[in-house]
């Protein structure tokens, strides 16, 4: 369980958001949606303890994130950043093993750690490229390797910043299905930033929509993701269609007439 408690943050004089509060319980997945520059990644980095809020607190298991030592925090929260450096050194296996840092803290890895890493590689379908350098695998494999590295961290809270941008259709659905399974079966807490409204609506129990003129709106996908709110947040009309046979719901922006 992770709680944002009256968070205020801004990079310049004007705050991005003021006194923002929400919590995500164990077994829940929250999607953070909103236009570019609305502060989605900032919220994630605040939750990860990588940014310090101007006021307010992020609370993890009744302890403020700012009070935790870095390795204590990393055992509770794993974070996958957006925009991976394609020149990243080390092999895929070594990169996933680096997710074990909070458990190892300078010790050499043991069989337990190798087993955890192998499982994470298997989950993300990376066994075939495990020994390849990170710079020589595809963008999608690189992104899956970083998710695997976060899984190897074995933290109850998972924060992911646009984890599906480099993934193909199958990879995207698999990644979200995996997060859904971790949430349901292992009672993990998942927070993800995404631009994929369809997948967020289908896989996340709750949605936080930023960028609306009235301020951030939070609730279930059904409550929050209505055409009026999406238009207010993104600034273009969005139409909603229910797919037949409970196959979910798609959100289609108005492209305008064909010229």
């Amino acid at each position: 369980m992770i709680r944002a408690q009256s968070l205020t943050f801004g990079y310049g004089a004007a705050p991005l958001f003021e006194r923002l509060s929400f919590d995500v319980a164990a077994g829940e997945a929250l999607a953070v949606l909103g236009p570019n520059g609305a502060g989605k990644s900032t919220i994630l980095r605040l939750l990860a303890g990588l940014l310090v809020p101007c006021s307010g607190d992020v609370v993890l298991d009744e302890r403020a994130v700012s009070d935790l030592a870095p390795h204590e925090r990393a055992r509770r929260v794993a974070y996958v950043p957006q925009g991976i450096d394609p020149r990243m050194p080390f092999t895929v296996f070594e990169t996933v093993m680096m997710g074990r840092y909070a458990h190892l803290r300078g010790r050499w890895e043991r069989d337990v750690d190798r087993e955890v890493v192998r499982r994470a590689l298997g989950t993300m379908r990376l066994e075939a490229v495990a020994e390849r350098p990170m710079e020589q695998v595809s963008g999608g494999e690189r992104q899956r390797a970083l998710i695997a590295s976060a899984l190897a961290q074995e933290a109850p809270v998972l924060l992911l910043d646009e984890p599906t941008t480099a993934l193909d259709v199958r990879g995207r659905v698999e990644a979200l299905a995996l997060l859904d399974r971790l949430r349901r079966e292992e009672q993990r807490t998942v927070v993800l930033v995404t631009h994929d409204i369809d997948l967020a609506a289908r896989f996340c129990t709750r949605v936080l929509l930023l960028g609306a003129p009235v301020g951030p709106v939070e609730g279930t996908a059904g409550e929050v993701l209505c055409p009026e709110r999406l238009e207010a947040a993104y600034g273009i009309p969005v139409r909603v269609f229910d797919l037949p046979g409970d196959a979910g719901r798609v959100f289609v922006p108005e492209y305008g007439r064909k010229p």
Binding site: A48, L50, P81, Y101
Partner: protein
């Protein structure tokens, strides 16, 4: 794991090379030496062989081993810290700071010794430490990222170099000659006093770097990822940089600024043994020492009885080598 095997081979070969260096290098010099007699007459004050071997040649080889190991470990750490293969104790100004301290002490004519170290050595230690603190302070204002570390280091190094030129300009010919000779670097130690004097600094600095191997690995993948995985990024950067200052200051204080060891050795080891800083650390210490001891042996025998300053030799070897590294980097995309 392949990296582990390659590391083990390099380590075993390094230890063999180290033993060979210790035994063979002291035999070279302007005066032929009988190793058997030197060992038999150990401690006998009248034995010329024992005196030359134990009081002149062996300290000199040990000095080269310590200085070479320290400089190459410092270079390795800085390249990891800045994620930049061009970083070394020279690029970051630490060595220039040490040299400035020593040159200033020579100009002021400070003589005498403290704990077995001449005043100029202490001034070098102080200068290197001061530059490290200033670089640290400035980089921390820029958020401690690798870019601000590199830029503030280069700038402060340039200021120190200008200071050296100014002091030289204001000195008379004799002093100036002394300074030039000192700036070329050399291993002119007699006995073990100076080596024992810098040993605590080397041990402390070496441990600060070697114990942060896995943290340096994490920093190679970027500060944000490292922080998210639980690395105390600022504390690690501070500790490793302090280690670099101790290593560089101590090395420069006895041997003068010796360039390129901190570039050649780590880059070669990376090409042969992979990127894992936990393995590279001990390898850099061993191979850096062996490399400098061999350079020093060549420097004092190739034009015997004259001696080439060893700093000139490492730079003459290091320059072309580094160009080669730069050329072969085109194949690799990673920053190192």
């Amino acid at each position: 794991m392949k990296g582990g095997v390659r590391g083990a081979v390099l380590l075993a070969a390094g230890l063999l090379a180290l033993a060979a260096t210790l035994l063979v290098c002291p035999l070279f010099g302007s005066r032929p030496l009988d190793l058997g007699r030197a060992l038999a007459e150990i401690g006998d004050p009248r034995s010329a062989d024992a005196l030359v071997f134990f009081q002149l040649r062996l300290p000199r080889v040990l000095c080269a081993l310590l200085v070479g190991g320290a400089l190459s470990l410092a270079g390795l750490a800085l390249q990891g810290l800045t994620r930049n293969g061009l970083a070394s104790e020279y690029t970051l100004g630490v060595a220039s700071g040490g040299a400035f301290g020593a040159v200033l002490a020579l100009r002021l004519g400070l003589a005498g010794a403290l704990v077995g170290l001449p005043i100029s050595s202490f001034a070098a230690l102080l200068g290197a430490g001061l530059v490290a603190v200033v670089v640290l302070g400035w980089a921390s204002r820029g958020g401690f990222d690798s870019g601000s570390l590199l830029l503030s280091g280069v700038t402060i190094g340039m200021i120190a170099s200008a200071g050296i030129l100014l002091v030289q300009y204001l000195s008379d010919a004799t002093q100036s000659h002394l300074m030039v000779r000192w700036l070329m670097g050399g291993m002119d130690v007699v006995g073990y006093g100076a080596l024992l004097g810098i040993l605590p600094f080397l041990v402390a600095g070496g441990l600060l770097v070697l114990l942060h191997g896995s943290e340096l690995n994490q920093l190679l993948q970027g500060d944000e990822l490292a922080a998210a995985r639980g690395v105390a990024v600022r504390r690690v950067r501070g500790a490793v940089l302090a280690g670099v200052a101790l290593l560089t200051g101590a090395a420069v204080s006895v041997a003068g600024p010796i360039g390129f060891v901190g570039l050649i050795v780590p880059h070669t080891l990376r090409l042969l043994g992979g990127l894992d800083q936990r393995r590279l650390g001990p390898l850099a210490v061993i191979w850096g020492g062996v490399f400098l001891a061999l350079c020093d042996t060549v420097a004092r025998t190739i034009l015997a009885p004259a001696e080439i300053p060893v700093g000139v030799l490492t730079a003459l070897l290091g320059g072309p080598f580094f160009l080669w590294v730069l050329g072969s980097r085109r194949r690799r995309l990673t920053p190192l």
